[in-house]
């Protein structure tokens, strides 16, 4: 069973239109793997049948779930450790030193998916910020279904098994039936909001740290440039941006400088280039 060219075409133009995400040819396997569970859930025998239904005038809901399925990243707590190590070893000490009087940290998880990343950041800050500091975390995603899941903060046994150290599981989660639920103090620090990274952002106060991991890879260069510029404008001058391991600002937005830390990189706004809206960097 493999996806026909016209089927792939339908899906890639759908997600491009709805989420500005580019699915290059060659991603057929990804489309198929993500849509197969949807087809099964709908009680249909194949992805082909599911796509036929989604293309019908009454297929709005199916089309939404296709966009959701293809814009969602698998996330697993501390699994991709490097950025979190950089947070504890570099970012927190730095901010604590430089931001003496305000004692508050604002962090944005810009593709929060099912919520593991913002909750992981909340756990990390709770464990590592000195006493007297407060923090807030904003999680945003394009998928309303994912936002609802994230807000619920409940995870299956399989999900909490992936990359969440057991001591942190018992400290910051409670059992909720067959699932685990993020404990109230962590939940309280995290809020969620729908946001399309590819469109202009609503007004928001500036952030100390932005996590934007494994999102840029889906966008074309123009969209990437726009996203990075908008984020740079929302980042405090001494703020930090973390990207996915395979992503970089280099060659796309030279308003960032790269700081190598451990086995990963963080990006900081280049001093003197907090570009005002409407002014693009060279290149």
């Amino acid at each position: 069973m493999s996806l026909a060219a016209h089927e792939f075409q339908f899906v890639s133009s759908l997600v491009r239109r709805e989420a500005s995400i580019v699915l290059e040819p060659g991603k057929e396997y990804l489309v198929e793997a993500r849509l197969l569970p949807l087809a099964r859930k709908a009680g249909l025998a194949s992805v082909t049948e599911f796509l036929l239904r989604a293309q019908s005038p009454s297929g709005r809901q199916d089309r939404d779930s296709i966009v959701d399925a293809l814009t969602t990243n698998e996330t697993s707590w501390f699994r991709d450790r490097e950025p979190f190590t950089a947070m504890t070893e570099l970012v927190i000490p730095n901010v604590v030193k430089s931001r003496g009087p305000s004692r508050h940290l604002r962090v944005w998880s810009a593709a929060s998916s099912s919520g593991q990343e913002p909750y992981t950041l909340a756990i990390l800050l709770k464990e590592n910020l000195p006493p007297g500091w407060t923090y807030e975390i904003l999680g945003t995603d394009i998928s309303t279904e994912m936002l609802a899941r994230a807000e619920r903060g409940r995870y299956s046994q399989l999900e909490v098994n992936r990359g969440l150290p057991a001591p942190l599981l018992v400290k910051h989660f409670t059992r909720a039936g067959a699932e685990w639920e993020v404990a109230a103090p962590i939940k309280k620090a995290v809020s969620f909001k729908r946001l399309n990274l590819a469109a202009p952002f609503p007004p928001m106060p500036a952030f100390d740290v932005v996590f934007l991991r494994n999102v840029l890879i889906y966008f074309d260069v123009e969209t990437k440039r726009g996203v990075l510029k908008r984020i740079r404008n929302l980042l405090k001058p001494d703020g930090w941006l973390f990207l996915g391991a395979a992503e970089t600002t280099m060659g796309i937005d030279d308003g960032f400088e790269r700081v190598v830390t451990g086995r990963t990189s963080a990006y900081r706004p280049r001093t003197g280039t907090s570009a005002p809206v409407g002014v693009t960097g060279k290149g």
Partner: protein, 154 residues
């Protein structure tokens, strides 16, 4: 707090995703099977604040396929001992997860596997929930039986 059919479904789906359907090619389909059959029944006893059994029942064919998938062998080579090991472990894993939905404290017994369960006194009790599914075209069922307090859960 008592487990429901939905809980059993969620637990079973996780067990399948972990051990029996790791690549998504052999999904556990949450539809009742065409024919019912309980050629093989594996169970673990729960005792303590609650008494009963957590059971996995399936056809002979399904039990061989499950053993083959779990042990990484061809279903033609599966022996009765393999089926006992595999089904027993499935019942154990599902049972442990069900136990977390029951009143505390409870302890889990060691798994037992019975063939041809019709009229088996071991299976006397009140069924409190059940999840019926079809796997590889064969019947597969997970259920929870409550036994009268202190009544023969070993």
């Amino acid at each position: 707090m008592a487990p429901t059919g939905d809980d059993l479904q969620q637990i079973a789906e996780q067990v399948w995703a972990s051990y029996l359907d790791t690549d998504g090619a052999k999904p556990l389909i949450p539809l009742p099977p065409d024919k019912l059959s309980k050629d093989v029944v594996a169970g673990v006893a729960v005792s303590g604040a609650w008494h009963g059994l957590v059971l996995v029942a399936c056809s002979d064919v399904a039990s061989k396929e499950a053993a083959a998938a779990l042990l990484g062998m061809e279903s033609d080579d599966v022996t009765e001992g393999d089926v006992d090991d595999a089904l027993g472990e499935l019942a154990n894993v599902i049972g442990g997860n069900v136990k977390s939905l029951l009143p505390e404290p409870c302890t889990l017994g060691l798994p037992e596997v019975h063939n041809n369960a019709d009229g088996d006194p071991w299976l006397a009790g009140d069924e409190i929930c059940r999840f019926e599914a079809t796997w590889m075209g064969e019947p597969m069922e997970v259920s929870v039986l409550e036994k009268p307090q202190g009544g023969g859960t070993e």
